[in-house]
Amino acid sequence: MNEVILSVKNLKKYFPIRSGVFQKVVGHVKAVDDVSFELRKGETLGLVGESGCGKSTTGRTILRLIEKTEGEVMFEGKDVYKLSREELRKLRPNMQIIFQDPYSSLNPRMTVGEIVGEALIEHGMANKNTVKAKVEEVLEMCGLSSYYIKRYPHEFSGGQRQRIGIARALALNPKFIVCDEPVSALDVSIQSQIVNLLCELQQKFNFSYLFISHDLSVVKHISHRVGVMYLGSLVELADKKEIFKNPIHPYTKALLSAVPIPDPTLKRERIILEGDIPSPANPPKGCKFHTRCPYKMDICKEVTPEYKDIGNNHFVACHLDGR
């Protein structure tokens, strides 16, 4: 296997909850609670989970767009959190992000050329004369006509805007890209265009993706390995084939069975979970999933299950662990 490009160890991000006149901290939202994984060169790690499970916060904390609370993020052997602001700024082109909302992620006052080319100039990768050619090249690569260079974002549809966002990230020759729900806001017929584009670009440039999504079928298509998050923690992580064929954690099983399949003749046994996701400000004791788990045991209410390898690089955090 290829070399490890990113390694995340025990990453935690707690947002303080303040209240009262003096804004005293009365608790914490544990958005990311002890997440560890590694990402290799040219690999896509899918991160799935429901809203509020901390998958987006994980992505942003890795890029240090939000400061961590605890833990370590090593990118190409460098600890992202030990860099000075200026060193971090210089490292930025190597790790990029593609956002969910194609509307709010592009500056409405800048032309496409400026949006894509700006950082090239800022990082000295191009000068005022060469930037246009470079931007046109990247736009074409992302399936946009180079005539678009002088246009403003509001003239584009959602799918095209998402392509602009991808072009912006791509222009800097990154090695690692966080894709934060890049297709969730798009129409079905446009989603597959963007997914295909991301796959093609990966084959061409050997990017590593951290692909964050709540849509299991998209994650399954694009990822090599998949991690499942619940209330800020990874509950299961394994090779794509392994996790979809042999899910161990009851939450993963429920999640998989809940995905509607576009085939009316297929009748499946479905696990319908009871209740709602608990608030991350006040997660249940023991295993966080025990309040909704159909297989819960007494131990689950008390002891947090260890997140461990059960063989085959299949990590899971459950007291049942496959037995």
Partner: protein
């Protein structure tokens, strides 16, 4: 068959500064009693506008229902007075929306809102109405219904709010429930709960459901009959099994092919080229022609009409059935 709702040649247009948007352009549909009809399409295809036209909820201006008939239980809704429509709305036909937070009034408790709906349409006093609301909340699987009835919408989670919305919609025993993307804003596990609930309620109450969605997975699970819309037109309709087994229109085919599926591995996804059409600048012939891989000369010029191709399967495409000049 026992028809509950028949829409004939409905036209709903929006008059904006940039031009006329034919949001719903000559759409015909029918829903039988106890049937679930799914309308599928992408954003801007007119599926929500069709639903809002039924309840006459189109904001005027800029919108206007320009023609057609909406016959519900033998009466043309478009010919009724505003008062008569209000009598039907929430009573015989009720609607649930994508975002339950915006369709519940934040300053009233859940109970208040359901009780109000009951008292508006049924001759019950407050006490009976309260009792009925609790029952309705229990019916949709809300635990501690007696407490929840006094809760404000923001105190509930998204799934609970959607349940409350369904309770409110079902409390007057409507004969038609219109659900506009009821699970799009919800997580998968919660979506599974809500879909399951809707299926159960339908079996118990024999309510017809008009389910609007963009998710083909949801369609396969819920629908009996499916209508596919594109740019304000119906392009294909069929029985759900028939449609998924034997999709005809290149757009339907494309949609089915382009969705990654959890139970099938694909090397590369198919994708429909191009963008969702700009409603101000629709092509002359078939609206799907610029994105269609099987387009022919005729498609550029002539708009195809919806034609039966056997098995109750209708499709609007020149590939099926030669001459379309009617």
């Amino acid at each position: 068959m026992d028809e509950l709702l028949i829409i004939k040649n409905l036209k709903t247009y929006f008059y904006t500064d940039e031009g006329v948007v034919k949001a719903v352009d000559d759409v015909s549909l029918r829903i039988n009693r106890g049937q679930t009809l799914c309308i599928v399409g992408e954003s801007g295809c007119g599926k929500s506008i069709t639903a809002m036209s039924i309840l006459r909820l189109i904001p005027d201006p800029p919108g206007k229902i320009e023609g057609g008939e909406i016959i519900f239980e033998g009466k043309d809704l478009l010919k009724l007075s505003d008062d008569e429509v209000r009598e039907i709305r929430g009573n015989k036909i009720s609607m649930i929306f994508q975002e339950p937070m915006t369709s519940l009034n934040p300053v009233f408790t859940i109970g208040n809102q359901i009780i109000e709906a009951i008292m508006l349409h049924q001759k019950l006093d407050k006490k009976e109405a309260t009792k009925k609301s609790v029952e309705a909340l229990k019916l949709v699987g809300i635990p501690r219904a007696e407490e929840i009835i006094n809760a404000y919408p923001h105190e509930l989670s998204g799934g609970m709010r959607q349940r409350a919305m369904i309770a409110m919609a079902m409390v007057c025993n409507p004969t038609l429930l219109i659900a506009d993307e009821p699970t799009t804003a919800l997580d998968v596990t919660i979506q599974a709960q809500i879909l399951d609930l809707m299926r159960k309620l339908k079996e118990e109450t024999k309510t017809s459901i008009m389910l609007i969605t963009h998710d083909l997975g949801v369609v396969a699970e819920m629908a009996e009959y499916v209508t596919v819309m594109y740019a304000g037109k119906v392009v294909e309709e069929a029985d759900v099994i028939e449609l998924f087994k034997n999709p005809k229109h290149p757009y339907t085919l494309g949609l089915l092919e382009s969705k990654p599926q959890i139970h099938i591995d694909k090397e590369k996804l198919y994708s429909i080229p191009g963008q969702v059409p700009n409603p101000f600048n629709l092509p002359k012939g078939c609206y799907f022609f610029p994105r269609c891989e099987r387009a022919m000369e005729i498609c550029k010029e002539v708009m195809p009409t919806l034609k039966e191709v056997g098995n109750g399967h209708k499709v609007a495409c020149h590939l099926y059935g030669g001459d379309n000049n009617e």
